[in-house]
């Protein structure tokens, strides 16, 4: 029999329901993998083996009583440490929230527990989800389970959901939550040979998710295949009156309608995504993806998204602006860290607490955000960026008059080594060049593993869909998955 930890969401759920193995056996198997990998990969900030066992026992009891199990029944998962979990430390990988124990449960995590999932632990990430490599975590970088052949150099698992992507690739969890503000689900998925989907903005509630940039933040599912992502996303999504931007729409049964047959579908190839200096391997995998989608019955046409080149700069005004406002809440008064220098007043306490509690990249973004929102600069920067954002969104709307989905590479390269580009903020920002535009437009988008580069590192392809058309995205993803036959996994060195 296949080792339990090689199984995904659907296989575990079905196996538990059929009695092939118990939910407790599943939880124990993954708990063991989590513990064994912690020192090497640093994917978890907190492991919660007892929580996983507790949920598993409840599932086994339900089954014994003849009750129906939920769509995630018996599946233990990892939870990005940006989701508030009742009674379990939630830090956003920051010092300022170190030791913070929420007294409530985020809507998304609650929905997953209601669907029968259990908690293996809280996953590491870039601090406050600000980063593309997981190097900004207060709890140390996540190390990818992937390595270049013959080299021990630690590689990035991507960011900000790098703990999630590393844990899935290393078989520490069958699936994990992620959040995506500018690519934080898709880019880590591409770097680790895993699959991740960010739904339409508003599909998943943001209530109880530590805020970074509220007009962009969206929770999503990460797993080892498209079907597992669909199952998990169905459990996560849904209207929540506690989130003002939550979409009051029924959640479609994406899993039931999954089909890799793209007959009659049109796929757009945005020509502006062919950037100068793109590695030949990225070009090649993109061409390969086009061939796969044609083979699945789709018609492929070139489209133009003329404002693509301005997406990153737009994002790096809007996201820091929103972050500077959101992160104003960390003041040392109500929760988290407090630094009170001798004889200090309230203002000194705020300044000392925030200086000590935030990392360098977080401070950088708060300062940029404060500046672009300040009197005299607001219109020149922030309003201007919102106008360009409108144009970027219109580009997509025009393209979707012609095509059903878009196909692009997920990232401009394979995973880079830790420390390779963290001294230049803008070089780091460029890792998200292909993912940011869809975020700005609030569109559903996913990354599926497509192949390996010459060094044996995974490369991903991105599918972007119309607003609310997660189904179209998942189906195109399934078509690629079926043809890519991606079964590569990192060799176990830890």
């Amino acid at each position: 029999m296949t080792e339990i930890t090689e199984l995904g969401v659907a296989a575990i759920r079905d196996g538990v329901a059929a009695g092939t193995f118990s939910a407790v056996e599943v939880a124990e198997a993954f708990n063991a993998n989590v513990a064994a990998a912690q020192d090497a990969l640093n994917a978890f900030i907190v492991a919660t083996p007892e929580k996983a066992i507790e949920a598993a026992k409840a599932t086994d009891a339900k089954r014994a009583a003849g009750e129906a199990l939920g769509p995630m029944g018996g599946v233990p998962i990892g939870m990005k440490d940006l989701f508030a979990t009742n009674g379990v430390q939630t830090t956003a990988a920051s010092h300022i929230l170190e030791g913070f124990v929420p007294q409530y449960e985020s809507t998304v995590s609650q929905k997953l527990w209601d669907a029968g999932a259990g908690l293996l632990g809280k996953l590491n990430l870039d601090q406050f989800a600000m980063g593309s490599s997981n190097e900004s975590s207060h709890f140390g970088s996540v190390v990818s389970p992937w390595r270049r052949p013959g080299s021990n150099a630690p590689l990035t698992a991507g960011g900000s959901s790098g703990g999630s992507s590393a844990a899935i690739a290393a078989r520490l969890v069958p699936a994990a939550t992620g959040t995506d503000t500018g690519g934080s689900i898709r880019q880590p998925a591409a770097y680790t040979g895993t699959t991740g989907i960010k739904p339409t903005y508003g599909r998943c509630s943001r209530w109880g998710v530590v805020a970074y940039a509220s007009s962009l933040d969206q929770a999503g599912a990460m797993a080892r295949d498209v079907t597992d992502c669909a199952i998990m996303l169905e459990s996560m999504a849904g209207f929540d009156p506690k989130d003002a931007t939550s979409l009051d729409l029924p959640v479609p049964n994406w899993t039931a309608a999954l089909s890799g047959d793209l007959k009659g579908k049109k796929v757009g190839i945005p020509k502006e995504y062919r950037v100068d200096g793109m590695p030949a391997e990225i070009e090649a995998i993109w061409e390969q993806g086009i061939a796969w989608l044609k083979d699945a019955g789709a018609e492929v046409v070139e489209v133009s998204l003329p404002h693509t080149q301005y997406a990153l700069a737009t994002y790096y005004i809007i996201a820091p602006a929103e972050a500077s406002s959101n992160l104003a809440r960390y003041d040392g008064v109500r929760y988290g860290l407090r630094d009170l220098p001798d004889g200090a007043g309230l203002q000194d306490m705020y300044a000392a607490t925030r200086a000590d509690g935030f990392g360098a990249e977080v401070k950088r973004r708060i300062l940029i955000g404060t500046y672009v929102l300040s009197a005299g600069f607001y219109d020149a920067y922030y309003t201007k960026a919102q106008k360009v954002r409108a144009l970027i969104s219109q580009d997509f709307a025009k393209a979707f008059e012609q095509v059903d989905v878009l196909l692009t590479p997920t990232a401009p390269s394979a995973a880079f080594a830790l420390g390779e580009s963290n001294d230049d903020p803008i070089a780091m920002y460029l890792n998200d060049v292909f993912t940011v535009p869809a975020s700005l437009a609030g569109l559903p988008a996913m990354s599926v593993p497509a192949g390996l580069d010459a060094q044996g590192l995974p490369l991903g392809l991105q599918i972007i869909g119309r607003p609310l058309d997660e189904q179209g995205v998942l189906n195109a993803g399934l078509a690629i998955e079926g043809r890519a036959g991606f079964t590569a996994k990192p060799g176990k060195w830890w």
Binding site: Q103, K242, D248, V333, G345, A355, L367, I368, Q386, K387
Partner: protein, 100 residues
Amino acid sequence: MSVDTATVAKIASLARIKVSEQELEAMVPELNGILAWVEQLGEVDTSGVEPMTAVIPNTLRLRDDVIDADPLTGGDKRDAVLANAPAAEHGFFGVPKVIE
């Protein structure tokens, strides 16, 4: 547009983040690098374009005017609210002296 040390000090003070002289020195070129880079948006003709505020058309809802409509976010949660406070006393958040 570029920033100098005095401007960054002012922004940091607005953002309530204490920065040392050394940090200021390092931040000025970093912030200027980012600001110079976003300057490219000036090339885009945005005349007549409405700034985008919502990515997906959505109307802001009002909740029913009912006390504790959602028990999760309703009242009577004092102990839970104070549970993570660095200095809670007598059912309140403790802060350093505000009035001289």
